[in-house]
Every structure is written in structure tokens, then in C-alpha cells.
Amino acid sequence: MSSPTRFKKTSLIALAVAIVLIIIGIVVNLLPIPDDSMWRVLFGVSTLNFTLRATVPLALGAMAGILCERTGIINIGIEGMMLAGAFAGFVAKVATNDWPLMASLLVGVAAALAAGAAMGYIHALFSIKFKMDQIISGTFLILLAGGLTSYLFNPDSVAEGKFSPIAIPFLSKIPVIGDIFFNNPPITYAAFIIVIALHIGLFHTKWGLRSRAAGEHPRAADTVGINVNFYRYLNTTLGGMVAGLAGGFLVLEAVGQFQEGMTAGRGFISLAAMIFGNWMPFGALGAATLFGYTQGVQNALLLAGVVNIPRHFISMLPYLVTIIAVAGFVGRVRPPAAEGKVYETEGSSE
């Protein structure tokens, strides 16, 4: 393997698309283009704001996936972890409705993190201790979260209030960029911090090296004294927390309420973003932005009513792009080598 920080082709493509998008957005919004022009519809500030809102849960979900999969635990249950986080955040928010708003919302975030962590831990326990097939364990998480949240949800309860935007001094005054990036509610900022932290953590710390070793070559990792299963438990639980935060974002920052099945496939698109981004944090962020943009554009086109392509076909884009990416038509993606395999130390295996 070459230098681990070097971007592979797909992650580069994903990132490039996201950057090009931002640059076009800046240029278009600074030029005196009439409001009803196609450029305004496709790259206006409102479209890009919507893109960012759609991107945050996808990016967080993808980071959750990277955390688990880099240590060798396949996680297709992100969808369920997100839903559990969303529901827990909602219940905690409703229970503390009469507290000061910020305190109540933070309790909601804590609950979302805790629920996600619990889901992550269950996934690790099933995958490692009980040797359940990891894909089936992920499927279980999705079904469990879907069933439990529907069963426990009381449609009469209402969460009062949600996170409001915090303008960053000076930066938010920059034209266009300030409007898009520096005037957002807290979980959005947190998402970007998590992406950067995960990149640094994975590629520039001891923890990251050990985690990746557990996912690439557990036998070798074990030989040099790394506790493979400890890192798998730890990172899968952390991944669950990040996915739970994505759910918390939906309830506490984006929508303000819980709805049954409100994750609506975001966990699966996150999975797609992770793969398209080649298991690299920035690559996955780029892919998440691309997928978020298809949602932003869909919204903008519907509002503007200018295009005859049925909205269903625009919505298909993220899924098609993912198939194209995993089929290797844009440069092969490569998962961590030891993914999905139970690791047993010498001796403990029968």
C-alpha cells in the first residue's frame, strides 16, 4: 500500500465534484444574473443552503460507516442507528420541553449519541462475540430501530423548538461563502469538525494506525500486540454515536419533530457516500455533498417548475452514481481487506 493519506481515484473525483460545485456557486451568486435564470436555480444560495442541510446527515452517516469499516466491521445498519438516534433525541427533547431551550436541545443530543452508541455496541457484540454475519446484524439493526421507534412513538408528543443558526463573527460576513458555510446551526459545524478530526485521527494518530491495522491485517496487528477486538468494539460504538448524531440532526436541527421512518434511506445513501469516497473521510464528504446536491437541485427545480424531467428520475441519481462507483466504472473502490471476517486470536479458535 502506498502512502495512506494519498487519495484514491474515486475519493478524488468525489471531492473534485464538491469543490467545483462550490466554486460555480460562488461565481454564479456574485454575477448579476437575473433571478429566473437556470444558473440561479441550479446554483443559487438557497439551493446550496438546502444542499448543505441534506449533506450533513449523509456526511455524518458516512463517517459512522468509515469508523466501523476501517476496523473491519461492515456496517449496513447506519440507517437503523440514525433512526434510533433521531427517536432518542426526540424523546429526550420532549421530556425536557420546559427546560431552557439550549439545555433541552443538548439533552436531546446526548440522548441521540447514547442511543447510537447502544446500537453500535449491539452491532459489535453480535458481530464479534456471537459471530453473526455482519450484514445480517446490520439488517437486524435497521428492522429493530424501525419497529421499536414506530411502536414507542406517540404522535401526540411535540418537541418545542430546535437549534437556530449561529453566525460566526467576521466569516459570516463574506459574501456567498459566509451565507452558505458560516451561518449554520451547531450540529452542521460539528459535522465538519468530525470529518476533519476523523481524517487526522485515522491517518496521523496511533489510534488510527491501530484501527486501520485491525481492518486490514488483524493477524499482523495482533502479532505486534494490538488488541484487535478492542478497537473493533470501540470504533463500532463510536460509529454508532456519529450515526446517532446524524439522527439527532434530523430531529433537533432540521425538522424539529420526529416522524416514523424519517431517515428515509439516508443511512443507505451514507453507505453509498462512504463507498464512493473510497472509505476516506474527505472523499466521503465530497460524495455526500454530491448526493446532497441532487436533493437540493431536485427541490429547487420543483420550486422553480422549469424542467420536464420527472422528479423521480432526478432522485435516482445518488443510487445510480453509487452503482456506477461500486461497479468500478470510475476507478475501483477498495474496502478494508479484513472486513466482515471474525477475528480470533491464535489458540482461541477451535
Partner: protein, 372 residues
């Protein structure tokens, strides 16, 4: 298959039966913790499924789609593939069959019904072939491609019946103008509807007989034919089957086509026997339930039949359970999920009941990995 022995039969039933019991007990604990009365709930559930002729009829009506999607997932498992795409294949089967079903109004039923079912099978087969071909030609993992194809199928199906929007969005080709703003197809014509065995209010149609025949066909195909042998060999030992001269690529594509065809057939039977039209909200959790059914049935066609019957009875009893005991029928999805966990990880059941693993016993749960 080896010779039959009572001890072996007992062994093979032990884990699934304990898994069912454990799932029901854990489900009861969850209900109790949530402040519901689990005894009243299970009583309502049982009565809803088996307490009346109508209950039995509902159970049988819900049996066929679960049975067929279960077989779909099971046949893919036999070949070492995880078909998480049954819901997309079901959807395509639905769209193909509904298209035949709402057209050709003057065709005699003896041709129209088989034609519409065949169309559904074809729709599912084609949709199932895509991940198979992608896996063989490019190595793309079927779990990812089938999940993505589920969404594409749902969006495609949604578009075909789309009523159009106020912003100049055109309606879809299968939309019923008589339904005005509602996105749905016109009703399936009389000649394309699967006849009833027991008419209203029971509405049990001949589709279930077709589904049961399919169990035997699949059992024969998997255990008695060369194709089935190749399928199982590829599933058990990918490398060895290559050296043995089996055309592995073709076998994988065939397995996915079979899986798709079965799920497509489920969609066709639901459309032509129960719903008589298509609207985007149809389908529901049928693909995921197929996974639970396949694993509970230990991927054996007859086991799948039994497992599907059990899940069908849960689904059928849900309405009465909710009505009688006030317990939301959503708990059934929780029980299904638990059931999936317990059958997929026999280690949990063995751990809970301190059962030892017998040396000749093979894990029935297939192992799947990203690498392929």
C-alpha cells in the same frame, strides 16, 4: 441429503423453535416495559390469526408473498449471495404484472392471468439479473447494488403511476386519470384477476396454491438437479467450484435471476390476487421480511414455507391484536427483527440455553463478505 434420522430432525428444528420462543418472550418484555399487556396482546394476535375463518383466510392471504420473497432470499443464500433486493424485484414484478393486468381487456382469463403472472416473474427476473451481471463482470457487491436498485425500483414504480404535479410535472404512463390527484393505476381488469378459492369476505385466491407448488419446484431444483448442485457448490466453496469446472459466473447470474423471478412472482400475485391495482405505498417491508423468513427456514424451501406461515400469522393477527388489547401492531416488526437476530446467530440461542454445538452440525447462516 444423507439419510433421515429423527435425531437430526430434532436438531435442525431446535434452534428455530427456541429462536421463535425467545423472540416472543423478549417481545413480551418490551411490551411490559412500555406499559402494555403482553398476554392480552398475544391472545389478540393468536385469535386474529387463527380464531376465526376470516383470521385463517387473512393468514393464508399473507402467506404467499412472504413465502415467495423468502424463497427468493433463500435461493440466493444457497449460492452464497445475499439478496437484500427482494423488495425492488417485488416492485418490478408488480409494475410488469399491473401493466399486463390493466391492458388487454378482451383476453380470456385462461391466457390473461398466466400472462400477467409471467410478466411479473419476468420483471423480477430482469431486475434480479442486474446485480448478478454486475457482480460477475465488475465484482460489484450484490448487497450494495441490490439496496440501490430497491430505491431505483421504488422511484421508477412511483413515476409510472405519478399523478403529475402543479409545477408542470407530467403524469406517469400507468396513472389512472380517473383517480385525479391520487397516484395509482386503474384497476386490473376482471380477466387478469387470480380467481378466488373462497370469495369475499375471505378473499383467499389460487395464488397460494401456486406458491406452495413453487416450494416443491424449488426443492426439486435445489436438491435434485445439476443446476441446484452447482448453485450449492458455488455457495459452499467458491474456489473449489471453479476448479471443479462449474461456470461460476453463469451460476451466480442464474441464482440472482431465480431470486428475482420469485420476488417478482410475489409482486404479481399480490397485485392480481389482492390489491388489483398499484399505488406507491404498496410493498412495505416485504423484502426485509423475506430475509427473516429465509433464515428462520434455514434456507430450505420447506422450512421457508413453514417460516413464512409463522410470519404471515403474525401479520394477520396484528390488526385484531391492536383492536382488542390496544397494543400497537408495530410490535410485530420488533418481534420479526428479534427473530432475525436469533436465527442468524445461533450462538446467541446456544449461549442462552447452554446448548452444545454438535460436531457434524453446519452453520446454516451463510457468510458474506465485501470482497466477494
Amino acid at each position: 441429503m444423507g439419510h433421515f434420522s429423527l435425531r437430526r430432525l430434532f436438531r435442525s428444528l431446535l434452534i428455530p423453535v427456541l429462536a421463535v420462543l425467545t423472540a416472543l418472550v423478549v417481545g413480551a418484555v418490551i411490551m411490559w416495559l412500555a406499559g402494555d399487556n403482553p398476554i392480552a396482546a398475544y391472545k389478540g394476535l393468536f385469535q386474529g390469526a387463527f380464531g376465526s375463518a376470516r383470521g385463517w383466510a387473512t393468514t393464508i392471504r399473507k402467506w404467499s408473498p412472504l413465502l415467495l420473497t423468502g424463497l427468493s432470499v433463500a435461493v440466493a443464500f444457497q449460492a452464497g449471495l445475499f439478496n437484500i433486493g427482494a423488495s425492488g424485484q417485488f416492485m418490478m414484478g408488480t409494475i410488469f404484472s399491473v401493466w399486463v393486468g390493466i391492458n388487454f381487456a378482451d383476453m380470456p382469463a385462461i391466457i390473461h392471468v398466466p400472462l400477467a403472472i409471467s410478466a411479473g416473474i419476468l420483471g423480477g427476473l430482469l431486475w434480479g439479473a442486474i446485480p448478478g451481471i454486475l457482480k460477475v463482470t465488475t465484482g460489484a457487491h450484490e448487497v450494495i447494488t441490490t439496496i440501490m436498485l430497491n430505491y431505483i425500483a421504488a422511484l421508477f414504480a412511483g413515476w409510472t403511476v405519478y399523478a403529475g404535479g402543479s409545477q408542470g410535472q407530467k403524469p406517469g404512463p400507468l396513472w389512472d386519470p380517473a383517480a385525479k390527484a391520487i397516484s395509482q393505476t386503474p384497476p386490473v381488469v376482471e380477466s387478469a384477476r387470480i380467481p378466488f378459492i373462497f370469495g369475499p369476505p375471505y378473499r383467499v385466491h389460487w395464488g397460494i396454491v401456486l406458491a406452495i407448488i413453487t416450494i416443491f419446484v424449488m426443492a426439486w431444483l435445489i436438491y435434485k438437479t445439476t443446476i441446484g448442485f452447482e448453485l450449492r457448490t458455488v455457495g459452499q466453496n467458491f474456489k473449489a467450484s471453479k476448479y471443479a469446472g462449474i461456470r461460476v459466473g453463469w451460476t451466480i447470474i442464474l441464482a440472482m435471476m431465480l431470486a428475482g423471478a420469485l420476488a417478482g412472482m410475489a409482486g404479481a400475485i399480490e397485485t392480481l390476487g389482492v390489491n388489483f391495482k398499484f399505488a406507491p405505498e404498496f410493498g412495505g417491508s416485504v423484502g426485509f421480511d423475506g430475509i427473516t423468513v429465509a433464515l428462520l427456514g434455514q434456507t430450505n424451501p420447506f422450512g421457508v414455507g413453514l417460516a413464512a406461515f409463522f410470519l404471515a400469522s403474525l401479520a394477520a393477527g396484528g390488526a385484531k391484536m391492536q383492536f382488542d388489547s390496544g397494543v400497537s401492531s408495530d410490535i410485530i416488526q420488533v418481534i420479526n427483527a428479534l427473530l432475525l437476530a436469533f436465527v442468524a446467530a445461533p450462538a446467541i440461542i446456544r449461549y442462552l440455553y447452554r446448548i452444545r454445538k454438535s460436531p457434524e452440525e453446519k452453520e446454516t447462516t451463510p457468510k458474506i463478505s465485501w470482497g466477494g
